[in-house]
């Protein structure tokens, strides 16, 4: 057999994915999207994975002494320090001469776009061999739903209440994916638990890349969003279908839109079925959709 061709990455499917559950028995709320993202990613990465979790829901629900809901080697880190910890783990594993393993950091939107950003930026700059997955539930959930840099306009949180003076959050969602890409990272992607096969494919792709990789996965939170538990996957799909989130990749210096819908599903419907947006007026929603259209116009012009 010739060895000159690079081995094609074997696709991971529901049929051939490992039967082993590596994140099991955790205490996340029923229907937690973040826990689905962690579960699927760990199944793709396998048992020989070091995973690091900063303060946040996934740390809180996974490590309740003496219970340890991870089957792989996992650790809680300081809130701002998951990227530093993961970079250290990767350096340690290399020094030990380990083979056939992966190091992954899982952090929330707050832990990534706000307080953990400096460590993350440094890690990408050094190109440490770590996969970083941000599960984005659009607020600081573990401490009771406070606004983060990834909370979208008009979201009702405990620090951005909606009332006669304010429509909830008055800032827009930070453009995290492009901020990460601007580091000229080897691989970055956005994903949604509403499109689980796409997410699995992206984790699998990043698994086979040495150096820092980044995946921003949209992950619903029934508790913080005011949505029924059974729609947890559906609502994360609808966010993409109505254009308020998007599926894209950045690779070899190029952006790629993975999904370019001819027509968006109704953003109004997506917003109104969530307690966090139910107060929005038609005017607020117009502001949200105008912003969306502007963003898509730019993405289509530059990335297609």
């Amino acid at each position: 057999m010739s060895n000159t061709e690079p081995l094609a990455i074997k696709r991971v499917t529901p049929k051939n994915i490992t039967d082993k559950e590596l994140f099991y028995g955790h205490k996340a709320c029923a229907g937690c999207g973040g826990s689905l993202a962690v579960r699927l990613a760990l199944k793709v990465l396998g048992e020989r994975t070091f995973s690091a979790f900063p303060a946040g829901c996934m740390a809180a629900v996974g490590f309740i002494y003496p219970q340890m809901a991870f089957k792989n080697n996992s650790i809680i880190t300081t809130f701002p320090g998951v990227a530093s910890m993961a970079a250290g783990i990767a350096a340690g594993a290399k020094a030990l001469g380990l083979e056939d393993y992966k190091t992954v950091a899982f952090a929330g939107d707050g832990g990534t776009a706000d307080i953990g950003f400096q460590a993350l930026s440094g890690m990408i700059d050094r190109n440490d061999d770590v996969m970083y997955i941000c599960y984005d539930n659009e607020a600081y959930m573990n401490t009771g739903i406070q606004k983060s840099g990834l909370t979208p306009y008009g979201t009702k949180t405990t620090t951005t209440p909606a009332g006669t003076n304010l429509p909830g959050s008055v800032t827009h969602k930070k453009n995290l994916f492009e901020i990460i890409a601007a580091h000229d990272i080897a691989y970055a992607a956005t994903a949604s638990i509403g499109y689980p096969q796409d997410f699995i494919n992206k984790v699998n792709k990043a698994k086979h890349i040495k150096g820092t990789t980044f995946i921003h996965v949209y992950a619903s939170c029934p508790t913080g969003w005011g949505t029924p538990t059974h729609t947890a996957v559906e609502i994360a799909k609808e966010a993409v279908d109505c254009g308020l989130f998007y599926l894209a990749e950045y690779e070899d210096g190029e952006f790629k839109l993975n999904k370019n819908p001819k027509e968006f599903a109704s953003a109004d419907e997506y917003l109104k079925k969530q307690g966090r947006f139910r107060h929005l007026t038609d005017e607020d929603i117009k502001l949200v959709t105008d912003q969306r259209d502007k963003k898509w116009e730019r993405m289509r012009k530059q990335w297609l």
């Binding site: 559950e21 029923a30 003496p66 650790i75 096969q197």
Partner: protein
């Protein structure tokens, strides 16, 4: 279900002496000290005649409590929280959520 395919709860032996505690902050991976069954008000019940084994439910379960069991899906009711995602996502309506009786 063949119990070897799913993680099991284990009894926690309370440390008697400081020396019995693990050194450092770590604990044994995959150690489950209690079940989650009590969280549930509805349980998923699978109609195997309707199920086409597409594995959609298996992929989308946030708790990973759906197992492949000899080409049939099988729910671990010790850890299923009854969120209803599996039933809602099933393209064949093969899962119904049935109220738990006390």
């Amino acid at each position: 279900m063949d119990n070897s395919i799913k993680p099991q709860k284990r009894d926690f032996v309370r440390p008697q002496h400081i020396n019995d505690y693990p050194v450092g902050p770590q604990f044994e991976a995959g150690f489950l000290a209690e079940t989650n069954a009590g969280w549930r008000t509805f349980r998923p019940v699978v109609d195997h005649d309707k199920c086409v084994y597409c594995l959609r439910c298996y992929i989308v379960c946030p708790d990973g409590t759906i197992f492949k069991d000899n080409d049939k899906i099988n729910v671990d009711l010790d850890y299923c929280k009854g969120c209803g995602v599996c039933a809602h996502e099933c393209p064949k309506d093969a899962i119904s959520m049935v109220k738990e009786e006390l």
